[in-house]
Amino acid sequence: MSSVAVIADELRTLLGSMGVRTGPGLERYGLAGRMPRAAVLPRDEAGVAGALRVASEAGLGVVPWGYGSYQSIGSPPLRYDLALDLSGLDRLVAHEPADMTVRAQAGIRFARMQSHLAAHGQFLPLDPPLAEGATLGGVLATRSCGPLRCRYGTARDLVLGLRIAHPDGTVTKAGASVVKNATGYDVTKLHLGAHGTLGVILEATLRVYPRPEVEQGWWIGSVEANVLQDVGNRVLASPLVPDRVEYAEPAVARTWGAPREGPALLVSLGGIRESVAGRAADLRRIVEGQGAILVEAGGSPRICASLSEFPWSVRGPADGSPWAIWRGGVLPAESGTALAALGEAVTPLAEMEGAATIAHGALRGVLRAASAADLVQGLQAARASLAARGGYLVVLDASASLREALEPWGVVPEGLDVMRRLKQAFDPKGVLNPGRFVGGI
C-alpha cells in the first residue's frame, strides 16, 4: 500500500488542498474508537468519483460520511483509511411541485430539504430519527424511517432515481425522475438500506406529497397490551387511513405524555379538517367498542416528533451504566404483544422501553442494565424472544463498553450468499465500508 502522504498528495491534486484533511480535525470521523488516516471533502460528483478511484487503486477502506448521524449502526470497519465526507454535495437540484418530485444531492440535510418543500405546501413523507442533522444520503443508505411509514411507506416506496459513484470511479444513474418506470432492473433498491457497501449515493430523486391540511393525534389507553393491539389491528383494517399507529410501552407512553398509566397507542390522522373530524368519530367507535379509552393528544406535532426520535433520543444514561438501542421486526399483528413478551424475557437482566409501528411490525427500543454482562445477556434473551416469533433484532448503538462484545446484526438473512456475490461484483476490492454490513459484507 502506498504511504498516506503519497495518497494524500494525489487526493490534493484532485480536490485541492481544502478538499483533503489529515491530522487534527479527523476526530469527528471517529468510528468505534478508530480514526481514518485522512478525510476528503469533494465539492462535486467528479470529486467523489476521483477520490474513490484513487482509494480503490491504493486498496484503501473508505467510509462514506454524511453528518455521521447513523454511523453507529453496523460492525466496525475492517479497514478505515478514508472518510469520504459528502457534506459538500448539498444542493437541492430541482423541485417541480406540480410533478410532485424533488431531486437533491446526498449531502443535503434532511430537515433543510423538508423546509424547502414545506414552503410549497409539500413534504417528503419520511420521518427518520435525527432528521435535523442527518443527510438525505444517510437516511437512504440506512433506509431510516419512522412512524409515518404506516401511511406512506419507506424510502423503498419514495425513491424514483439515484446517482451512484462506484468504487472504480464510474458514476451511473439508476431509475428515472418520473413517478412510474419499468425500464430495466430497479437497481435503486439495491442501494437503499445497503449502508453504502455497494456504491456511494450522490443524488436522489424522490416522490413528494402534499402536506395534510390538519394533523391530529389521539392517545388510546388500556391496561391490557392485547386490547391495544386489537384496537390497532382494527384501525388498520378499517378505511380510516391513519398516518400513524404507534404502540408504546408504559415507560415510553409516560414520557410522551400519555394521560394514564400503562401501555398506550398513539393514532394520528391527516387530511382536510372535515375529514379528520369525521374519521375521529369513527376512531372513537372502534376504540370504545373494545373497552379502551380515547383522549385527544394535545400538541400532537411535538409528540409525533418525539415518536420519530425514539430510541435515538434516549441514548446514554448520565450515570454511565450500559445501554443499547435497537430495532427489530415481527409480524404486524403481534407487534405490541411481542414487545410485552420481550420486556418479560429481559427481566431481571435489563430494563426495556420500546415502541412499535404496528402497521408493519417494526419495533424499536432501548435496553439498560447494571453491568455490561447483564446487558449482553439481556440482548440475547431479547433476540431469542423475537426469534421465537420469526422476528429479529438489530443493535443500532450501544455504550462504548459493549461495542466489542456485540454482533450488531444478529441475523443471517436468506440469500446471504447472493448478497456476498453482489458485493464482490460491485466492490471487488472491498473498498466501501468493509465488513460493516450484515454477514461481514
Partner: protein, 484 residues
C-alpha cells in the same frame, strides 16, 4: 418460426428428464401445441416456439427443472398467462419454457396481518375477489387482471389505472419464493419487515423473468376505501385536459386514477362499447377519488374547479355504481376498441413528467401529421404514463415503416421531455434498443453486473431487456395487436 433450436438428441434427453420431474401430463412437446407458446400478447414481433413446455406444480419441481437446464446449458424462461405486451415471455431461441399456470393456489390468507401468499400462477383478480368479503383488496390492477398472474405481475412490476395513488407491484410485494437460475431456492423478504441485507426482492421485482423463476408471492392487502367518486370531465382540446391533470396534482389532490382518452380513442370506444362518452370532445379525463367520505367530497369539488379553470365543457359525476362501471368500461375497452379504427396498431408505454404531458401530446400529434398516420392517445395521465396507439393502416404505402419511424420519434420525444421508455409493460424483446435512449453503457453495465451474479451463464430468459452489442441493430419493433 417453429422448429426446434436444440439438437434432437439433447431435446429427447431433456424431455425424458422433464417427464421424470413433473410426470407426462406436465410436459408439452408436440410442435402444434408448442406453437401456442410462441409469443405473449405482443404478437406481431418475434415469434419462436419453445423446445419444450413444462407445467410444474411445486417449487421443488421448478428447482429440479432449473438444475436440469443449468447442468445441460439449456436456456429456459418462465411464463404466466402470457398477457405481457413487450415480448418478455416469448422464447428468444427455443429452450425450455416453465409455465406456472398450474400453480394457482392462494396458500395463505392472513387477515390479521393483511397479507396473502399465493402461488405464482394465481390470477390477479382471483386474489382481489378472495379478499373482497373481508373488506380488503389487492391494489395493482393491470388492465389484463382477469387473466394475468401475480407471478407475471412481479416479473413485470405491473401497474394499472389505480396505481396513481396506490403504487405499482413493487410497493405491494413483501416476499417471494424464488428459484434462482442455478436451481437454488431462496425466500426473499417476508412478512417481517426490514430484514437487514440487500433488497434482493426489490431488484427481482420487475426483472422480467431474467433473474430466476418466482413460485410464491406474499403481498400486502389494503382496506377498501370508505367511498369512491368517479368523474368524467370533457375538454375541447387534449392540451386542456393534460394541463388539468397537473393542475389537480398541484392542488394537493392525489386521485386514485386519472385517465385521459383523446378524440380518436373516444370514437373507437363509443363505436365498440357505448360508454356514453361525448364524440365531439377533444379529450376526456376519467378521474376517480377514493378514501374517507368527507375527504373525497372535498377532493371532487377541487377536481371540478381545476377542470373548469381549464375550460372543460362538462363535468359528469357517476351517481350510481352502474354509471361508474360504465364509465370505466369505456376506458378498460379502449385498447380492444382499436380494432374498429385500425387494422393493426403499435402500442407504446412511455412515461413523462406530468407537467410535460400537454407538450408531449402536442408533439405526438405533430409526429402523426408528419408521417401521415393516425396516433390515438390513451394515458394513465396522473402518472404521466402515455399509451400512444400508432395505427397501421394497410391502405397507406409503407405503413409499417412509417409506424416504426413514428414510434421511435415518439419515444425520443418522451425521453427528451425527461421521461422513460416504459412505465409498466417492461422492455421484453421489443424495447431493448430503446434502453440506450435512457441509459448510458455504464448504467447498463450495472444491470448486467446484477444479471451476471445471478445468472452467470445467461440461460434465464435470454434475449430480453439488454440491447444487443451493436447500437441500432434491433431498432425495429414490429406492430402489435394487443387486446388491452
Amino acid at each position: 418460426m417453429s422448429g426446434h433450436s436444440l439438437r434432437a438428441e439433447l431435446r429427447s434427453e431433456l424431455l425424458a428428464a422433464c417427464v421424470e420431474i413433473v410426470g407426462p401430463a406436465g410436459v408439452i412437446s408436440n410442435p402444434d401445441e408448442l406453437r401456442v407458446y410462441d409469443c405473449d400478447a405482443l404478437t406481431f414481433f418475434h415469434r419462436q416456439s419453445p423446445d419444450l413446455v413444462v407445467l410444474p406444480t411445486t417449487t421443488a419441481q421448478v428447482s429440479d427443472l432449473l438444475k436440469l437446464c443449468y447442468a445441460r446449458r439449456v436456456p429456459f424462461l418462465p411464463r404466466g398467462a402470457g398477457t405481457g405486451l413487450s415480448g418478455g415471455a416469448t422464447p428468444h431461441a427455443g429452450g425450455v419454457m416453465i409455465v406456472l399456470t398450474r400453480m394457482t393456489r392462494i396458500l395463505d390468507l392472513d387477515l390479521a396481518n393483511r397479507m396473502a401468499t399465493v402461488q405464482a400462477g394465481c390470477v390477479n383478480l382471483w386474489l382481489t375477489k378472495a379478499v373482497e368479503p373481508h373488506g380488503l383488496f389487492y391494489a395493482p390492477d393491470p388492465a389484463s387482471q382477469t387473466a394475468c398472474t401475480i407471478g407475471g405481475n412481479v416479473a413485470e412490476n405491473a401497474g394499472g389505472p389505480h396505481c396513481l395513488k396506490y403504487g405499482v407491484t413493487t410497493n405491494h410485494v413483501v416476499g417471494a419464493t424464488v428459484v434462482l437460475p442455478d436451481g437454488e431456492t431462496v425466500r426473499l423478504g417476508g412478512k417481517v419487515p426490514d430484514l437487514p441485507g440487500f433488497d434482493l426482492l426489490g431488484v427481482f421485482t420487475g426483472s422480467e423473468g431474467t433473474l430466476g423463476v418466482c413460485t410464491e408471492v406474499t403481498v400486502r392487502l389494503l382496506p377498501q376505501p370508505e367511498a369512491v367518486k368517479t368523474i368524467l370531465a370533457v375538454f375541447r382540446a387534449v392540451e386542456d385536459a393534460s394541463t388539468a391533470v397537473s393542475g389537480v396534482i398541484a392542488r394537493g389532490i392525489i386521485p386514485v386514477a386519472m385517465e385521459l382518452l383523446d378524440r380518436e380513442t373516444l370514437k373507437a370506444v363509443e363505436a365498440n362499447v357505448k360508454a356514453g362518452y361525448p364524440l365531439d370532445a377533444g379529450a376526456v379525463l376519467l378521474i376517480e377519488v377514493d378514501g374517507p367520505r368527507a375527504q373525497i367530497e372535498a377532493e371532487a369539488v377541487g377536481v371540478e374547479a381545476v377542470c373548469r379553470e381549464q375550460g372543460c365543457l362538462e363535468v359528469r359525476v357517476a351517481q350510481t355504481e352502474g354509471e361508474r362501471v360504465l364509465l370505466w368500461k369505456g376506458r378498460k375497452e379502449a385498447a380492444g376498441s382499436f380494432g374498429r379504427i385500425a387494422h393493426r396498431y403499435y402500442l407504446q408505454d412511455a412515461v413523462v413528467p406530468r407537467t410535460k404531458l400537454a407538450h408531449v401530446v402536442r408533439e405526438i400529434e405533430a409526429i402523426a401529421l408528419r408521417h401521415g398516420i393516425r396516433i390515438a392517445n390513451v394515458a394513465h395521465a396522473g402518472d404521466g404514463n402515455v399509451h400512444p396507439m400508432i395505427c397501421v393502416d394497410p391502405s397507406i404505402p409503407d405503413c409499417e415503416a412509417r409506424a416504426i419511424k413514428a414510434g421511435s420519434e415518439v419515444m425520443r420525444c418522451c425521453i427528451d421531455a425527461g421521461g422513460t421508455v416504459t412505465g409498466e409493460h417492461g422492455i421484453g424483446n421489443e424495447k431493448r434498443e430503446y434502453l440506450r435512449y435512457m441509459y448510458d453503457p455504464a448504467d447498463l453495465a450495472v444491470m448486467e453486473r446484477v444479471r451476471s451474479v445471478l445468472d452467470p451463464l445467461g440461460l434465464c430468459n435470454p434475449g430480453k431487456i439488454f440491447p444487443d452489442g451493436d447500437a441500432g441493430a434491433n431498432l425495429a419493433p414490429a406492430t402489435a395487436r394487443g387486446d388491452r
